[in-house]
Symmetry: C2
Subunit: 714 residues, 2 copies
């Protein structure tokens, strides 16, 4: 007899789950267990954990195995295994007669993918047929000799992580008493690091002899899973044999400073962007680069050791980095790592970059959307902290109020800072503080890392001095003294937020003139909610609510922001012009007013292999789909044009860009006539937009030597 | 003994209330009654209504009279009587000892008006002192010989108006059973006409011999209280002797067509704008114009008769009017009349104009604000209908969703129209309709009044034909046939709505590309809610939340709207360039897409005598505070620049404009240093903005004969 909470069928779609979950505790006596594994029916027993082997025997489970990734790959479906696993389910679960089930699956494929093209349907059919051939029953039961499952989180984790986070990861959150949940909503940082996804089949392997130390690989990595560190060679004498490091190129570092590029093998998703971007090739074998994807199995053991060693090495001194260069910027520690974003995500490199540049001072309001899901994917978060315990403060309110939410953070910070300054002046007036310290604290402009570091040291000195002062002002000042260090307030979200649902608030923040940095991760579609059209969706793209291709032109959020004239605006695409992106972030953050960075973010919703993420960004710029520019209001004060158009007149037909992306190309099949008209319209728009921006960038902002109306004394 | 709901003190601040309300029914035995009247203490008894005379005698009331308007006028306070009436209250109510009360009032004046300038304080002091001299007790009681109060609404009113509206006007709405209130929220139009405000002390009197028939007086009238009609002379043979009319100038009307300019004496508020705008002067006496303000008393009797007669005359045929000219446009009947807006209101002329041009086809969503209060000031509404029973449909939802609300109206109308067209085609396919009629109905572009009239006649013919057809399609078509006549959908509100609270929705409507006409009545401040700063408030203006002068530049809503490139945008000021305003309205309405008209609307919150409304608008344009321009996306299709800058480079110092308005000038007294800096900033902004717009108007939009990237077949 089957209990209510028992299952007659259990499937494990990811072999790594064997290590993570007790998959068979709810399996009923005699249930069917389906496992996706690259081990054969004969060998698979040995790969199971001990307790699972025991459950299979005790409960007399019927075990089936399939190498779903191989079937998918061979059928031309890449890493998409859903059709394969679905076919297995119907083939062995007995829910429907097998033949009828297969017929129905094929009908469903026809219906679901028909409009995406014949080829896709045929690949699915091939996968279904191959599945039936490759699905094998595991007849033999061996000894109970498997591995023992590791604890969910490492032994050295915080108590909170072991007691709360781990339970939630295991899916046992419901067993936690409410009293163990943080009363004020504060959760520890850096917890995504304890969740090892281990989904890469291949990982990048570094050839230190070819590498030119350009920094592009850590820059493009969506998961902060490849890093560089610059460390004195003498500090690495105890390095494991397999750990690679070489003298760093660049005179500014000096002899004896070595660089290492290291992959986090269990966090890498295998997207391959680091290899795509790598510019260093072996001249005698041009397919060999300084980074190359290799199967994970033979490399995993060494690289785990190397990664742990890499983490133990000290960070390079931030105050000595020139953040405008890629190599230097990428030496800074990212404080956003191992998020649950899709493999090859086009958004996360921007957030990672911001945390490298400003993470130890960032306060982030995050809109609802992908970035709130991978940003605060409870129980874990990818936001983390440096060795000083400093990292971004992050929170998510609602879809519709994120800009206002961040503005509130800004106002609170400004108020606390003003209060701290006032208290210093009050205590100083009573002669209780060192005058030189007070002067420095109140006058430090904090415009670079060195000055910020100096301010931090002065704040520490201040706190020490305050400890000896017995009055209420001193106690209050201790509580707000950290606000004397410049904070970097950010409002982050997608186009659904910034162009649509939260636009009223975005406008309010822009109008306020306050120093909030707004990062718009523009995927041109509601990504997280399932691909609905947003105001950012471009002409002719197919999305939900725009099945016939979007007819209305993409909203020009930059132009709207520039209408304020006091808003810093940047339009960037990290895969097209990487240093331009870094420059825009630095300028935006340094501007003492509202800044809007609109960041082109390719997404799986665009319908292309995300390994082409960077080249598609490049095409988007070359075809005029995404112009690069920066608008800096500081130029106005000098009587100069604030707009700098940083990309060239379109040099590639719009169709060269769009034909690679299903969001555009599918329209030709589903609505051929509309497609023709919309693409013509889009091509015209692209040209007109460039011409318009080019003319704006040439406008005269000098104060004219004209006859002025006489200004009467008012 | 005084009952709970009885009053010991009753004051009547407006003599006209004697005619409207039973003011003494709640007065207690022996209560004090204060009356503002220009009748002396000796003569005032005769001016009271019978029932009030009786109540005064029966309840032994203590009666006091003051000519508050005279006291205010003589003290330099214009028509502001609040200080006078307040002083009377404290002088005779016995709430405080009289001397103490007067001292306290003067302290309050000092506190309230001190920052507005010494002169204002002194005028108030003078008014207080004069009040004490001019306040007289009415000792004598005469016979009960007064007039009888007229019914609240005319006898010929609709039953609903008599039974419901009148009760509400009387303040007795609480006595109505709920069942008498319209279940669907629909209220009859034209009901403001039954409420005669009679607040003018002077009204304009027409000199038909001087008049040049320019049409400017009805154009600027905020209350539609002066009108022109063009009627055949032969139709006016029975006119009252006092009714004036002359041969209309202009060959297009022909001999025997006369024009009359007629005031509605009980609806006029005496603002004087019609006289201010009148360009026709007597050469031998230049202070005498074709319109002149004269005291109402000697004119009221005749003008009431004249006005009733004027209303009985037929309207001129709309299909023969050239709406681009002022004289013609002002011959069209306004379908917005006698609103409760302030005397001299800068908003209402725009709404009136829209109703003259499109009122019989308008559907209006109205944002919360002044325009929702005077627009739907239940129990009455100023929106009315023509002799065919056609007028605007009007509704008000919320502050924050008005643009969306109007968009919903647009979508509903479009859907109904499409449904009607589909039904026509279905019925026509069955051979049941006249083919020529069907062709006309489906192909009429309705781009002018004549074509719209033709469509209306065809719709009438269609309905007649449908009556003879026995099927469901025909019944459905009858219900939606009126949607075959082009509707004009409007979203109306103030800057608090459009720039701030409802901006997200405004943006959504602009982005939608749908044909919604958005009218922004820009007073540059939250007027109705009490003068709070909005994003439209200009640099240096004082408002609530900007007591030190607004430091952030006025939001450039036009520039934001133009960023869409498919939005018609107009920036108008009716008092500065009247025909420009008419042209903008016609262009906006004719554009088959979103239109935004941003209309400069002087307001009492600006702090100047509203009789200067027009000259201040003119100064606003000449000083560059308010540039006039139109942006027509239809120009883009021709490869031409869509922006037409219609005002000249600023020719007057900004201070010439601002010094006349307290919102600006008070800053100099309250925050002299901030004022200096802000005015300098404002002057620079004004110049920079003009230069920027002038350059934008010169940009090249021609399709360049450049080397184009080859367009690949997609």
């Amino acid at each position: 007899m089957i209990e209510d909470n028992e299952a007659k069928f259990v499937a494990c779609h990811q072999p790594v789950f064997l290590e993570k979950y007790d998959m068979l505790d709810k399996a009923a006596e005699g249930a069917t267990f389906l496992l996706n594994s690259n081990a054969s029916a004969e060998q698979v027993w040995e790969t199971l954990p001990q307790n699972m082997q025991k459950q299979i025997i005790d409960k007399h489970l019927d075990v089936w195995v399939i190498d779903a990734y191989k079937v998918a790959q061979d059928s031309g479906m890449g890493r998409r295994i859903n059709t394969v696993m679905q076919t297995c389910f119907f083939a062995i679960s007995g829910v429907l007669p097998k033949d009828e089930a297969i017929t129905r699956i094929k009908e469903a494929v026809e219906k679901t993918y028909g409009r995406k093209g014949r080829k896709i349907v045929q690949r699915n059919f091939a996968a279904i047929d191959a599945t039936l051939e490759q699905l094998h029953q595991v007849a033999e039961r061996g000894e109970i000799n498997g591995f023992e499952r590791q604890p969910t989180v490492p032994e050295e984790s915080l108590d909170f992580v072991k007691q709360v986070t781990a339970r939630l990861i295991e899916g046992k959150g419901d067993m936690l008493p409410v009293s163990m949940i943080p009363a004020d909503g504060t959760w520890p940082l850096g917890t995504a690091a304890v969740e090892k996804r281990k989904i890469a089949l291949e990982i990048p392997v570094w050839d230190e002899n070819l590498c030119i130390h350009c920094g592009k690989c850590p820059f493009v990595c969506p998961h902060s899973a490849i890093r560089s560190k610059i460390v004195r060679a003498e500090e690495m004498q105890n390095a494991p044999d397999s750990f690679k490091h070489v003298q760093v190129k660049g005179k500014e570092f000096g002899e004896g400073w070595h660089i290492s590029y290291q992959v986090a093998p269990e966090d890498c998703t295998g997207c391959g962007l680091c290899v795509e971007v790598c510019p260093a090739r072996d001249k005698s074998n041009v397919s060999h680069k300084a980074l190359n994807m290799e199967p994970i199995e033979p490399n995993l053991g060494d690289e785990k050791v190397n990664w742990d060693y890499f983490l133990s090495l000290p960070e390079y001194d931030r105050t000595k980095l020139k953040f405008t260069t890629m190599k230097h910027a990428m030496t800074a520690q990212p404080l956003f790592e191992f998020s649950g974003a899709c493999s090859g995500c086009g958004e996360t490199p921007y957030i990672k970059l911001a945390t490298q540049l400003f993470g130890d001072r960032m306060i982030i309001g995050n809109a609802t959307g992908c970035s709130s899901i991978y940003g605060g994917n409870l129980p874990t978060t990818p936001y983390t902290k440096d060795d000083n315990g400093r990292g971004p403060a992050w929170s998510n309110s609602l879809f519709e109020d994120n800009a206002e939410f961040a503005l509130g953070m800004r106002l609170a910070v400004d108020h606390q800072t003003a209060y701290a300054r006032k208290l210093i002046e009050q205590i100083d007036a009573a002669g209780q503080l060192d005058g030189a310290l007070v002067d420095r604290l109140l006058s430090n402009p904090q415009q670079d890392e060195a000055a910020i570091q100096a301010q931090r040291e002065d704040v520490a000195a201040l706190k020490q001095a305050l400890a000896a002062i017995e009055n209420e002002d001193a106690r209050h000042l201790v509580s707000v003294a950290d606000y004397l260090v410049k904070k970097s307030v950010w409002s982050i979200g997608g186009d659904g937020w910034a162009y649509d649902i939260g636009f009223g608030g975005l406008d309010h923040v822009m109008a306020s003139g306050r120093n909030v940095n707004i990062l718009v991760l523009d995927t041109e579609v509601y990504s997280n909610t399932g691909g609905q059209m947003s105001k950012s969706t471009p002409t002719g793209a197919v999305a939900k609510f725009a099945a016939g291709g979007k007819a209305v032109t993409k909203k020009d959020l930059s132009m709207i922001a520039m209408a304020y004239e006091h808003v810093y605006v940047a339009h960037v695409a990290f895969g097209a012009k990487d240093v331009h992106t870094i420059r825009a972030f630095l300028e935006a953050e340094s501007y003492d007013g509202p800044s809007v960075i609109i960041a082109y973010s390719p997404c799986i919703a665009h319908g292309f292999d995300m390994r082409e993420n960077l080249s598609q960004q490049d095409l988007a710029v070359k075809a005029g789909h995404w112009n690069l520019f920066r608008y800096d209001p500081r130029q106005l004060e000098k009587g100069e044009n604030p707009l700098s158009l940083d990309s060239k007149r379109p040099s590639v037909a719009y169709g060269e860009f769009t034909r690679n992306e299903t969001r555009f190309s599918m329209l030709k099949r589903s609505h051929p006539e509309a497609a023709e008209a919309l693409y013509r319209k889009a091509q015209q728009e692209v040209e007109a937009r460039w011409q318009h921006y080019a003319q704006l960038a040439e406008l005269d902002y000098s104060v004219e030597d004209q006859e002025k109306p006489e200004q009467e004394k008012h």
